[in-house]
């Protein structure tokens, strides 16, 4: 120890000791600060952080409900849920999407459509949401991916239920399809109801009965760790499956009907007049709804859109056609209701002219029908008779009666977007065209030409009303609903509309007897379709012009391009005295109703009332002869 140090020893000691005291004070102060901070966090803000910590660990995992199935009237499955493996992606968890897709494509076959759809999904939804890259993986692809899963962060293999339509195109225009929930759908739906669900009904029954089919989402309350992995399930609310739906439609009848329609574009609607139940609802051509479920590729969709047959158009519902002569039974009723005597005879001379005009409204039969009463005019479909009748009635009364019959209005079928059709009136023409009504337009309205437009469905319902002698039912595709897991099938009650009551019910007898003679009478326009029938039925042919024919010119089918040929129409119901089925057939560009449309209707009724036709006889097996 040096002398100098000894000299300053006391001073040094005091200096350091005072610094130590100061330090102690600082230490205690800082400790108090720490305690204060802990007090703030653990005591004052306790509930706030307790909540945050709960939210941290508890998360809700939605469990989608199984969508209700759709069956036909004989419990054949029309729409079901098939288990399928899907490859799903959370984009935020993937650093280099393009490279990852390249790598995954070596394990799982990715079509251009898959990639295109996925890239669209990438743009429209936020990156932390899971979305499907490919669904319907094969077992081999599942195995290949499962082995390599650890190499693909952000890719997940999930078993899901996917909608499948076993009858494919056959029922597309009825059942419609589900598709992935789009941005537009998201704006109108209750998002909570769709938690965990990817699909929503887009068209047909799937869309109209969305609420019935959907069911209720369940959820699992799970504890997750910081990596989002589920540690354990805390509670579970099971989903409630959607209700199953039974249609009035008979899928076998539906398929046979389309077969009968053959190559013709057009529509056939068959209903049970007693209930309004729709037995067949055919629009031809058709499309397969299955590709729409996961989003059809732009290319395929373009092909469908550009197809000249317009398969996506539901003609039975949306098609609007001039009713042609099929309107005549209703016109006959309209006349009688307005005191036109059924005994009143009109001379069918082949054409009709308004007083003071030289314009000739021609009859389909150039040489004319001669003297006819109302019954015979229906049987032979005399145009001149109905020109005269319409001209006598005037458009106001025609409009009033046709409207009462359900024309020009929605039928109220359980499908979305039904058009109303059109029954012209003076007010309508002034409003729509800004022109007064011309008397000549009344004349052609009498034979279902001019402005009048009906949908095949409306036409079928008009037929059912005729068959019912004025009792109107709302058409119904759905027959019954069943709660999931329940064996009780709740039948839906038919919805009856306002009857078409007339002064005297015998007017119906007269019109129906006319319609019976259309097919069974010697001079009936569709007598060939009535041959050999095992039951008595009633019908009415119709031919709707697609192009106007110039005055003095004649219509020759062979000279007219196919797309300008007349539409063939036929309405009928059977059996005539106890109607069980009413059918409306429209074969576009089919030419005459009697030749093209009536045989189709006959076959449909045969199928429904008698049963499927026996399979065409095959050659007797040769082997039997040998044996």
């Amino acid at each position: 120890m040096s002398k100098i140090q000894i000299k300053d020893y006391v001073r040094e000691t005091n200096l350091i000791q005072s610094r130590l005291v100061i330090s102690s004070i600082v230490v205690v102060t800082l400790c108090l600060l720490l305690v204060g901070r802990l007090y703030y966090l653990q005591i004052e803000q306790y509930s706030h952080y307790a909540t945050l910590s709960q939210e941290n660990r508890i998360s809700f995992v939605p469990i989608p409900p199984a969508r209700g199935q759709i069956f036909d009237r004989n419990s054949k499955v029309l729409a079901e849920n098939l288990p399928t493996y899907t490859l799903e992606v959370v984009p935020d968890n993937i650093a280099d999407m393009e490279a990852s897709l390249d790598r995954i494509a070596r394990l799982v076959e990715l079509s251009d459509a898959d990639i295109e759809r996925f890239e669209t999904a990438l743009r429209v939804r936020p990156g932390f949401e899971i979305r499907t890259l490919k669904s319907g993986l094969t077992d081999e692809e599942v195995a290949r991916f499962a082995v390599n899963q650890h190499l693909f962060n952000g890719f997940y293999l999930n078993a899901r239920l996917q909608r499948y339509y076993p009858f494919g195109p056959e029922m597309a225009h009825v059942v419609g399809y589900v598709g992935r929930i789009s941005a537009t759908d998201l704006e109108r739906i209750d998002r909570n109801a769709y938690r965990g669900t990817d699909y929503i009904g887009k068209l047909g029954i799937e869309s109209h009965y969305e609420r019935t089919l959907l069911g209720q989402s369940g959820y699992e309350q799970v504890e997750t760790n910081a990596h989002g992995r589920v540690v354990r399930t805390l509670s579970r609310v099971s989903p409630v499956a959607g209700k199953d739906i039974y249609l009035n439609v008979d899928v076998d009848l539906q398929r046979a009907t389309r077969e009968y329609l053959g190559e013709y574009e057009g529509a056939v609607v068959a209903v049970d007049p007693r209930t309004g139940g729709v037995l067949a609802f055919v629009s031809n051509p058709v499309y397969d709804p299955n590709p729409f479920v996961n989003g059809i590729s732009t290319k395929s969709y373009k092909l469908l859109r550009q197809n000249s047959g317009r398969p996506l158009l539901n003609r039975a519902l949306h098609g609007r056609y001039a009713p042609g002569s099929t309107v005549k039974p209703v016109m006959a009723l309209a006349g009688m209701e307005n005191y036109w005597s059924p005994q009143e005879k009109v001379f069918g001379k082949g054409w009709f002219s308004l007083r003071g005009s030289r314009h000739r409204y021609r009859c389909w039969k150039k040489q004319g029908h001669g003297w006819l009463n109302l019954h015979d005019a229906i049987v032979q479909s005399c145009d001149v008779y109905f020109y005269t009748l319409a001209n006598n009635l005037g458009i106001d009364k025609i409009h009033e009666f046709l409207t009462r019959f359900g024309m020009g209005k929605n039928t109220g079928i359980d499908l979305d977007g039904e058009p109303s059709g059109l029954v012209p009136s003076q007010e309508w023409k002034r409003a729509a065209r800004g022109q007064p009504w011309w008397p000549g337009e009344t004349v052609i309205t009498g034979i279902g030409q001019g402005y009048t437009l009906v949908t095949p469905l409306q036409l079928a319902m008009v037929t059912a009303t005729l068959a019912n002698r004025g009792v109107r039912n709302q058409p119904r595709l759905v027959k019954a609903v069943r709660d999931s897991g329940s064996s009780v099938i709740q039948e839906l009650k038919p919805n009856t509309l306002e009857h078409v009551s007339v002064r005297d019910q015998r007017m119906y007898d007269l019109v129906i007897s006319g319609m019976v003679n259309v097919v069974h009478g010697k001079r009936g326009t569709a007598r060939r379709s009535g041959l050999g029938a095992e039951y008595k039925f009633a019908g009415k042919t119709g031919t709707a012009q697609v192009i106007g024919i110039k005055q003095g010119a004649s219509y020759n089918e062979k000279n007219v391009a196919k797309k300008f040929r007349d539409h063939a129409l036929f309405i009928s119901f059977a059996p005539a005295d106890d109607p069980k089925i009413a059918v409306a057939v429209i074969a576009e560009n089919g030419g005459g109703g009697s030749r093209t449309a009536a045989p189709i209707a006959r076959k449909v009724m045969d199928f429904y009332l008698i049963g499927p036709p026996p399979p065409p006889e095959e050659d007797t097996p040769k082997k039997d002869d040998a044996a």
């Binding site: 100098i4 140090q5 000299k7 300053d8 001073r11 040094e12 000691t13 200096l15 350091i16 000791q17 610094r19 130590l20 005291v21 330090s23 102690s24 230490v27 205690v28 800082l30 400790c31 600060l33 720490l34 305690v35 901070r37 802990l38 007090y39 966090l41 653990q42 005591i43 803000q45 306790y46 706030h48 952080y49 307790a50 945050l52 910590s53 709960q54 941290n56 660990r57 504890e223 997750t224 760790n225 910081a226 990596h227 540690v231």
Partner: protein, 360 residues
């Protein structure tokens, strides 16, 4: 023989260490996912720590004073070697592989720097003169910069703190302290440019961790939630959801205090702080009653550095200070810092127990 060893131990400090070591094992069992292997490893480290404590306590303060320049020089050489040949781990070059084991030379400096400063300042009578102050500053800044270069901000901070605290105790004038503080504030922007991006980010998110809840702020937020949700009583041992479900990062090492306060609550946390306060108080008391300047300086500096550890760690875990890699002394899992700490406390015990042997 044994009695001679034991004579150089300080019972109050020793008792505190036993309590903290036991606590460490209890919390580690929970934070480590009930991993017994982890406990055994930590137990071995604690044992090694106590052996070092005993050993250092046997050395007299005079011996320590003589060794100070050598320890400092060796540390300086090793630090330079680390920069040249060190093992890179977790993005930083901190470890030196010595064949049998690897260690962080920076740890040596936690003791080497305050010892060297104390040694330097004891050579001439206090208070400090400017020339000595400048030399002391070099002794502090040199190793600190070397450690920052690794980069290891936490350790650099502790080394600097140990040196600065020794200088403070040596009686640096208040005016000079003020001037240096002002200079430091001015140098702040310059320091800013020297920091790595992740270090800057840590400092920035300190002020608003919620601005980047899934990025730089994530650790702090989860830690605050853990502490806050512990409440007064805690969620119970092994029941902290933040800890058990791995929301807390580094929960066995730097963030172990979050696990402790989540599972044991506010009162226990205050009790833990009190134990630390007791240790620091005992250390300062020993320094106060030391019989020579070197002992006072080194004893005070080591005690205050120990408190600095505690304060920075708890401040970081409770979201009051930026996230720097400073473990909670004697509780956090980890070997090297345990060894350094115990060596430091060995010195304190040596100071206290050799006192009576000195001629009056």
């Amino acid at each position: 023989m044994l009695r001679k060893f034991v004579r150089h131990l300080d019972p109050p400090l020793l008792l505190s260490f036993f309590v903290l070591s036991g606590l460490s094992l209890v919390v580690l069992y929970s934070s480590g996912g009930e991993d017994v292997d982890l406990l055994i490893k930590q137990g071995v480290r604690i044992l090694i720590g106590f052996v070092i404590l005993f050993t250092v306590a046997q050395l007299s303060p005079q011996t320590l004073q003589r060794w100070a320049p050598y320890i400092f020089s060796i540390g300086l050489v090793l630090l330079s070697l680390v920069l040249l040949f060190g093992i890179v781990g977790k993005g930083a070059q901190r470890w030196l592989n010595l064949g049998l084991f690897s260690f962080q030379p920076a740890e040596i400096m936690k003791l080497g720097v305050p010892m060297m400063v104390a040694w330097l300042l004891t050579r001439n009578p206090l208070p400090l003169r400017l020339r000595e102050l400048a030399m002391a500053a070099i002794i502090v800044v040199g190793p600190t910069v070397l450690v920052i270069l690794q980069p290891d901000l936490g350790t650099a901070l502790l080394i600097a703190a140990a040196g600065i605290l020794a200088i403070f105790l040596a009686g640096i004038g208040w005016r000079l302290i003020l001037a240096l503080t002002a200079a430091l504030a001015a140098a702040g922007p310059l320091m800013w440019t020297l920091l790595h991006d992740y270090q800057r980010q840590r400092i920035l998110t300190l002020f608003d961790p919620w601005s980047d809840p899934l990025g730089a702020g994530y650790h702090t937020i989860q830690s605050i939630i853990a502490v806050g949700s512990g409440g007064a009583q805690g969620k119970g041992w092994l029941n902290g959801s933040q800890s058990q479900l791995e929301f807390i990062p580094e929960r066995s090492t730097d963030f172990i205090f979050a696990v402790f306060s989540e599972e044991f609550g506010f009162y226990s946390a205050v009790l833990l702080i009190c134990i630390y306060l007791f240790i620091v108080g005992r250390g300062l008391f020993i320094a106060f009653n030391a019989q020579d300047t070197f002992s006072r300086l080194i004893g005070g500096a080591l005690s205050l550095t120990f408190f600095f550890y505690v304060f920075v760690n708890i401040g970081m875990v409770s979201g009051s200070l930026p996230v720097v890699g400073v473990p909670l002394p004697l509780i956090s899992y980890g070997g090297t810092s345990m060894v350094t700490l115990m060596a430091g406390f060995g010195m304190l015990m040596s100071i206290h127990t050799h006192r009576k042997l000195m001629p009056q």
